[in-house]
Structure formats: structure tokens, C-alpha cells
């Protein structure tokens, strides 16, 4: 799955999101993603990650096995 597609899915669900995606291995399957959005305000880490997983529409754990994720609120 191309990084641009992952970013597009996240931004479709969280329009204000800053998304940074770095390949961990150059195989189009292993990525590290950092997502910054106001949508995370007042939410636990688990809830924040779930918002991103929902944006990815069920691909997480399937098509996207290796997405290392961190989330944060804008400074």
C-alpha cells in the first residue's frame, strides 16, 4: 500500500491532520506514521489510535500489518 494512499485515507477522515509517513523497510508495507490533529483533544491514547484505525477503514491488521503509529495534539 503506497504511503500517499495511507495519508489520503487519514486526511479524508481527519481533515486538519498533519500526517508524516516514513518507510521502515523499502517494501511498500512497513511504515511509521505520526499523526497530529485537533480531533485527538480530550481522548486517551487508545481512542486516538482508534480514530486513525477507523480512518484506515479496517485495513489495519489486514492489508496494513506493519504500521507503527504515534499520535499527538498540535502544539
Amino acid at each position: 500500500m503506497p504511503a500517499a494512499e495511507i495519508e489520503a485515507l487519514i486526511r479524508a477522515a481527519l481533515p486538519d491532520a498533519e500526517v508524516e509517513i516514513v518507510p521502515l523497510v523499502d517494501d511498500g508495507d512497513h511504515y511509521r506514521a505520526h499523526v497530529v490533529s485537533h480531533a485527538f483533544a480530550g481522548k486517551s491514547r487508545v481512542q486516538q489510535h482508534k480514530l486513525v484505525y477507523e480512518a484506515l477503514g479496517g485495513r489495519m491488521g489486514g492489508e496494513l500489518h506493519a504500521l507503527q503509529l504515534t499520535t499527538a495534539l498540535p502544539n
Binding site: R45, V46, H49, K50, Y53, G61, H65, A66, Q68
Partner: protein, 106 residues
Amino acid sequence: MSDANARISQIVNEHDIVLFMKGTPLFPQCGFSSKAVAILEHCGADFESVDVLQDMEVRQGIKAYSDWPTIPQLYVKGEFVGGSDIMMEMYEAGELQEMLADKVAK
């Protein structure tokens, strides 16, 4: 409640710290599971582990139980804490050590 749910509920309530993972702490079968084990060992935590590769019912059931799509999954005192990324974030913030503090082998 399905059988898988009942079994998972029993496991997470019988042990204070439970890691559902792929493989075993000695032989993890996935980089994320390996990382989760390393973090818990750094914390000095005495934890129970469940190898989901040996149990298809639990492997599928655990994802529905926590509404979380991936493995590993950490439970403390019956509550879902997160996967390896959240464990690492909490570890770096010192929050995981605090959460596990009263469970850590002295």
C-alpha cells in the same frame, strides 16, 4: 457472550498483567510482539503471555474483545491498555512504569 469472549475475560481477570502476542516471550514471532515483550521486561514486569498463534479462537476473539485490530495487546487488571506503539509511548513518558509499579517483582 461467545466462548472466546468468556475465555478472554477469564484470562485477563485471572492475571494482573497479560500480553496477548504472536509467539512466546522467548521466541516472539513478530517484531511488534517482540517489542512489547522487551518493554515489559525493561519495566521488570512479571507478566502472563498468551500465544495467539496457538489458538485461532482467541486470535480472532481478542480483536473484537478490545475493538482493536492488531496484536500484541496488553491488559492490566482486566483493562485493555494498548498495543506496542502505545506501550512505547507510555514507557517513554514514564506512565507504563507507574501503571505497572505495584505489580513489578521486587
